[in-house]
Symmetry: D2
Subunit: 249 residues, 4 copies
């Protein structure tokens, strides 16, 4: 029997309550739209968590039982508690997967993992986005065509201030003349990280079958069979090979 | 005329004052030993800074006039002020070079740039270290043989919890059976970073000509001709290509 | 039901027939030793092929039905037909996995994929090798300790003339003072490649449980669910977005 | 005194003689247009070579005196002699730089270095190309804006079948909806390689100041101070550390 992957979808869940246009697209929140979409795929155990919950819904227990964490945030990055970020960070280094969506590029956890500002250029102009699949044999690209289109999208453009990705999977073309590294993989500690840029709150992108397929694939890819702390600095007193005693220099 | 590279050598400068054995090896501090060594090479303007100075000697003005920062720290990582770390971090993302030495792997600035714990295994057993040069044509390896030896060294061993380096330059062999990725390059934002592991405080490693040659090379390599902030998130309202108006979806 | 991975183990099978010492260790050939080892793991359909067979046993049909190809060669690299190498090469670019063992570093197919000489330094001195696992959460390292030892091994040392690996998984320590990047992953086209250095013909390394576990893991890792030719250069005459007619410049 | 970099610009020089439209744009050949452009920058010693010359103008002597080789080819890739390709290949592995332009993606030498097919999609439709500079602090991008435009260009689109570049410097946007990794760096052996896609024979791209600046920068970047053969496989009989004699296993 194949192990089920335990996915926790985190959403700050603010826009959907404060902004009628967003509420219309995502009445139950972006997290629930993604959860509904992933439920159609076999092999996941899905839960959600939001900013307003105690410990933002990301208690030690929840994270201990999470194989892959999805992250959507935008206007409330600053409200995420530093202690919770630290906790998430260590869990990722120990082997928990992370999928960062859209404006999550500016979340505390993503910036902490990248070590850079994660800045970019942007434009809200209801423009076409064509996403090019440049690594078609990668697990995250399974079942995805050579390119696909989002009829209306927020532009996220270069230069995107990230370290060179381990692998670049998707590059986006925007009608207004910009390009963006829209799908990037990274590894930090024992954890696998996927950043994927489509997903502005005013567009029904998280109902799109291609997008949902990519998210499901990324959860499978980011899953690590092991958890191994990277937090120890052991003194390996006993050498594996004999050391010739010599006088101090 | 070739531009002179402005190097600032930072040292926590604690061991050398508190520990007679270290004081004997580095009576003026590790920073001054490195400074003396680099001064023999043409093309540098060198200054030093230490923990005890106001703002740890790393004021806005000092950093503004620093092309490449060297970092040696060990027992006082926790005493480095978070605000100063933030300042250094942004300067590196803007294009300042950074050379992190030995136990600096655990400094706040290096961990912040890497996004990982930077943990490793270690042993103090006065053992031989052979450093292998696996990228002989890299600028940092110019003039360095295929391998060189440090007769006594502290062991730093794998697993070293860092992101996959942009390029691996040196791999160390230890008498006691360990290996270590002892020279690694990274780029973060517009800044170039070199981590180099030799340099324990009880060994005269910073008087070694090969080591000093590597440090001089790394200063030249880490220098960036530009400073460009990566901290902006511009709204590029005017597209470069026309966007067909369409109704909101 | 999980798909079974179809593995073809290729061995030049020369030493085992000509050299009594080798014959004693691998009476049925290295290919059969590996095949026997992998058979103990679930999920593989295994066949073997050797140099002396027509088309070296690697006909179009065999390769079409191979998910992952293992390669062991040493003294007869030059006898492998260029046309067969070309065929294997295209299959790998299309998505077939490749695991290159030990002296296969100098095979035509590996050098063709790397684009470099794949040279290294070596020594036959019956010395200890300690293999360090520097990517413990990688699929190929599942179930493997932080380090393991081979009591007698041929030394393969740096500098190893390969492109920077996508990921470095294992680094070896040798008693005689050398180090080696002994486990490296690469991607070329749609194919995944793993190079693993242990496996000299005079040592019973391919009976070692740890080694066999790594080989089984690498077969699972190198498997790609798709085959997609990278050999087309399509003229995409119809653009996806309108092109404004302008006069030739 | 700074060493002058010896650049050899190779062009197949066929289109310019056979095709009136190309002849009009490059009456003296693409190689001479590039040579004229580079001559305006200090620090180069420039020569050219073409297909029709003996040994394609790339004799042992010429290559021995070449620090960086530029390569433009298109319709005559197949006419380049395999022995000359082998010679160039070894010189690059030894430390000669290589800058591959436009349709040179399909040259024997580039494919040999990459180990992949280097296929792509294309379209001749006189469309706009916007080149985005995604690594502004890289030496090749010095003096280059965040983006620049080519008013008419041949489209080269993804998927481009290359190994993951060491660093991605430029990404191109095309009016017709495509994107392309238009500036990529690679290292093979001791040689540095830059692929740059703009430069179709019917456009005056090699007179463009921005393009010429990039080419001059790339020549400086690709220059290696050393030449070191990667073709040896030395038997390092004498170990650096003592090996305990043990019986054969």
């Amino acid at each position: 029997m194949v192990k089920k992957i335990r996915v926790t979808i985190w959403n700050e869940f603010v826009h959907e309550k404060n902004d009628a246009a967003v509420k219309k697209v995502y009445p139950d929140g972006i997290h629930n739209a993604i959860a509904q979409g992933l439920k159609k795929e076999m092999g996941f155990i899905i839960q959600t968590a939001t900013l307003e919950q105690p410990e933002h819904g990301l208690t030690e227990k929840v994270l201990k039982n999470t194989d892959v964490l999805f992250w959507w945030g935008h206007m409330a990055h600053g409200q995420v508690d530093d202690e919770i970020v630290k906790r998430i960070h260590q869990k990722i280094l120990d082997g928990m997967g992370l999928v960062v969506l859209h404006s999550g590029h500016f979340s505390k956890i993503f910036r902490r993992l990248m070590g850079t500002n994660c800045s970019l250029t942007w434009r809200v102009a209801d423009e076409r986005e064509i996403v090019w699949n440049i690594a078609p044999s990668h697990p995250i690209a399974q079942g995805i065509a050579g390119s696909f289109e989002l009829p209306g999208s927020e532009m996220y453009g270069e230069r995107f201030d990230i370290p060179e990705p381990d692998q670049l999977l998707f590059v986006s073309w925007y009608e207004g003349g910009n390009v963006f590294r829209s799908g990037c993989t990274f590894k930090r500690g024992n954890g696998k990280i996927f950043y994927f840029s489509p997903g502005h709150e005013t567009y029904p992108i998280f109902y799109d079958k291609t997008i949902l397929r990519i998210l499901a694939n990324s959860a499978r890819w980011a899953y690590s069979p092991i958890r191994l702390s990277t937090n120890d600095v052991p003194n390996q007193k006993t050498p594996l090979a004999p050391i010739t005693k010599r006088k101090p220099i």
